[in-house]
């Protein structure tokens, strides 16, 4: 399994990660080794096998659709690095 420098940079962009130049090659190598290792799954016959996302059989419980106490605006904003007028403030996106 080949992982290229461009693959690493593409994933970093998608994940909003910045990599220092010195980090890129070790990351590329680690990803390549781990994904090559993971190709062991190709040896399994998975035809007709259902995927499992939740291993315990259960139905999703429902709750009453009622208004209950939750975080106040002040609590939600208490950890904000920057907030103004009751909102999280961030740098310009566009």
């Amino acid at each position: 399994m080949d992982v290229t420098r461009e693959d690493v940079l593409r994933c970093a962009r998608l994940a909003d990660l910045r990599l220092e130049e010195a980090e890129i090659e070790p990351m590329r190598r680690a990803m390549e080794e781990l994904l090559t290792h993971a190709q062991s799954l190709d040896a399994l016959d998975l035809a007709g096998v259902e995927p499992t996302t939740h291993a315990l059989p259960m139905t999703l419980p429902r709750r009453e659709d009622a208004v209950v106490a939750s975080f106040t605006q002040a609590q939600a904003l208490a950890n904000a690095p920057d907030a103004a007028e009751g909102l999280f403030r961030v740098p310009k996106a566009l």
Binding site: D16, M31, A38, A55, L56, M58, A78, P81, K92
Partner: protein, 491 residues
Amino acid sequence: MAAGTVLEWREGLDQGDLSAVSLVQAAFDRMDRLEPTLNALVWRDREGALGAAREADRRLHAGERSPMLGVPFILKDNFNWAGTPMGCGSKILQGYQSPYDATVVARLLRAGAVPLAKANMDEFAMGSSGEYSAFGPTRNPWDGSRVPGGSSSGSIVSVAASYAPFALGSDTGGSVRLPAGFCNVTALRPTYGVLSRHGLTAMASSLDQPGPVARSAADLAKGFAVLAGRDPLDSTSVDIPGAERLEDLRPADLAGLRIGLPKEYFGEGIEAPVREAVAAALKVFESQGAILEEVSLPHTAWALDTYYLLCTSEVGSNLSRFDGVRYGARVPDGGFHAMLAATRDAGLGAEVKRRILLGTFCLSKGYYEAFYLKALKARTLIAADFAKAFAKVDVLATPTSPALPFRFGEKSADPIAMYLADAYSVAAPLAALPCMSIPAGFAPSPDTPSKRLPVGLQLIGPALSDVRLLELAHAFQCCTDHHAQSPDLST
């Protein structure tokens, strides 16, 4: 007093021979003495703990009796505890103060248990050794040159070093069991959903479970009694049968118990001292009338790859919330996306970045079917292996880890070597099964034969058999004293 158990302390508190305040004072004296060496904690508050202890003493004087009233405990630093900092072993949450209690924390506090401290951990619970914390590594109290195991390194070491007789860790692929085996304590990873995840910082949501830690199964059951059960705030949470047996745990009758030994876990990869200690522990079960039987879990060889594909994929998604917008330390750098990237670059360590990148790759266009979907299907086969085994036997027993605690730096530069440390602990979580590590015995340290290193025995049960599993462990601990052994921390 320092090395007391939950059972002893509960009795002393009820009879008025002990006070919660005196237990807290002794615990802080011990932490002050040992923390410069062990580094198991990231935050502690003596005054706050004394306040909680005084309230517990007031309730005791008023005649209240309950399984954890007045008992000190320690929390892994990925649980929210209102009004205190939470760092998850990462720099990115610098300055974060929890605005609410995790359900498991709220239940312990309501029961009158006394919180002492937040415990060190591998960053965002990603690690098998305790070396990947931004706040420095935790040391194994049995041999300071060796790792305690991770990621719940601090919670486990806190119990092993007798800071507190009870702690909460979390287990995604082995994070309470692996360190419990390395440090000679008892830890349970419950059936997925038995403990609420509300307020536990998510790593891999389909696998994460809070994991209680104590010296013995009987102690652990006291805490588990107040923790277990459905929580309306976690839609995957479930009630547990037999919960009423936890508060006063009785040993199971081992006569006729069928213990399955999966042959894939007893192959060539096990270090000899681990094999010997586990064999001796199994003999104890046999001497009490249990029947040992070889079974096969044929897809074991694929469990590790399946686990790491699913785990990293979920990590890639879950960790996107740490971006300097709503909490944590923001690093401004021009526009919005530059700020996110600068914040994450400054705040996240190499292992976390590696897993985010891998997960992002596995979920990206063209690779989803090749990796993530394949892993979900392999998970089905792995769960089916267990179901087949449990048609023949009552419980499975394996070593917790094929190896003794390793030296610092031995695996930290090689991601695959580090992931292989989890080889025996990742399969049961994929199948949502309850499993625990209990002290099985000791082996001489390879470099310093005068030092002993612990070996863990892993028990895996069918879904929702958590109480039964604790009763089996308790029966074993009634005939052995490995769990009562403490490391020598006198100097």
